[in-house]
């Protein structure tokens, strides 16, 4: 059987047990929270890192003008 013939779709496939399904759901939730934390952390840290420098630049521009 060659890959790409579409025959892999036949048959019942892998059926997860209840315990495996539950574990997978909890792992997915944990990964989702992990990713959310990363996004929020990078967003907030970017603001914390760049805001003082931007304000400083703005002040310098105002003083020059």
């Amino acid at each position: 059987m060659e890959y790409g013939e579409g025959k892999f779709q036949e048959g019942p496939g892998v059926e997860l047990t209840e315990k495996q399904r539950k574990a997978r759901r909890w792992r997915s939730i944990a990964i989702a929270f992990g990713l959310l934390f990363m996004v929020v952390a990078f967003y907030v840290a970017s603001i914390a890192k760049f805001t003082p420098k931007m304000l400083e630049q703005q002040q310098q521009q105002q003083e020059q003008s």
Binding site: M1, E2, Y3, F8, G11, P12, G13, V14, E15, L16, T17, K19, Q20, A23, R24, W26, R27, I29, A30, M38, A41, F42, V44, A45, A48, K49
Partner: protein, 314 residues
Amino acid sequence: MSVVDHTTAQVGISEAMPLDYLALMKPRVMRLVVFTALTGMLLAPGAIDPVLAIIAIVAIAIGAGASGALNMWYDADIDAVMSRTTNRPIPAGAIHASQSLNFGMVMSVLSVMTLGLLVNWLSAAILAFTIFFYAVIYTMWLKRSTPQNIVIGGAAGAFPPMLGWACTTGTIGWEGVVLFAIIFIWTPPHFWALALWKMRDYDDAHIPMMPNVAGKSSTRRQMLAYAALLAPLSIAPMLMGFAGVLTGVLSAALGASFLYFTFRVWQIAGADENLTAEKKLFGFSIFYLFALFALLLVDAVTFRVTGAYLLGAL
């Protein structure tokens, strides 16, 4: 090309829960790492944005946890033999060793990159080196090959305060080196106290711990030497001016107590079959490190708030 022919998921599908992955990260070790890194971060001169400080601490905690996962992946065989470690997720069958390896690698990269991009690259480099040192130098090389394993490997546990210092200052100061030295010198008597009453475990796992290789009396002598070194080191922060007099006096008492407990281990020399002195030293060693860094942390916060140390400085 073969096709997977099983229709029920009895084999190869993970049943690991998020808490199993958390256990892989050695939460107790993570707590100590966070605590010592935070102390180093706040003792260091200069300001660090609170948001960046929190992110740095989380990244350091995850990096430490990643090295724990890599350690559990490599040590799964000996963890299964030793009573202290049989309940870890891999020997208990909750997680496959390869999952631990993947998890450890991903978390290592994420923590180092986060620290580098958001804090500074010196601290990221130290974190990367710490993970490498613990996972490769200690776990893969030293642990199974020399009785000096935890002496040299102890450096991995000693880096966090230096790491915290680097997060704030972007440099490695002598003060950071002193904090490193305190944990580095503390590690051998702490671990060997445990090794003395877990000798059979280490024998079964073929790990060449000092008591198993050099003998109990030699180990006790060496522990006493390290404790004698640790006592003056305990007051070095006060002498170098980055801790106050009150912290210095209490640290001296802690160092002297540590020396006393170790002296008792040497003096009794195993005459007590229950090894009570060793167990007391092990318990006190944990208290010593916690109390010393708590004092330094309180001093650092006091200095940042009031501009002076408790009872002043030398």
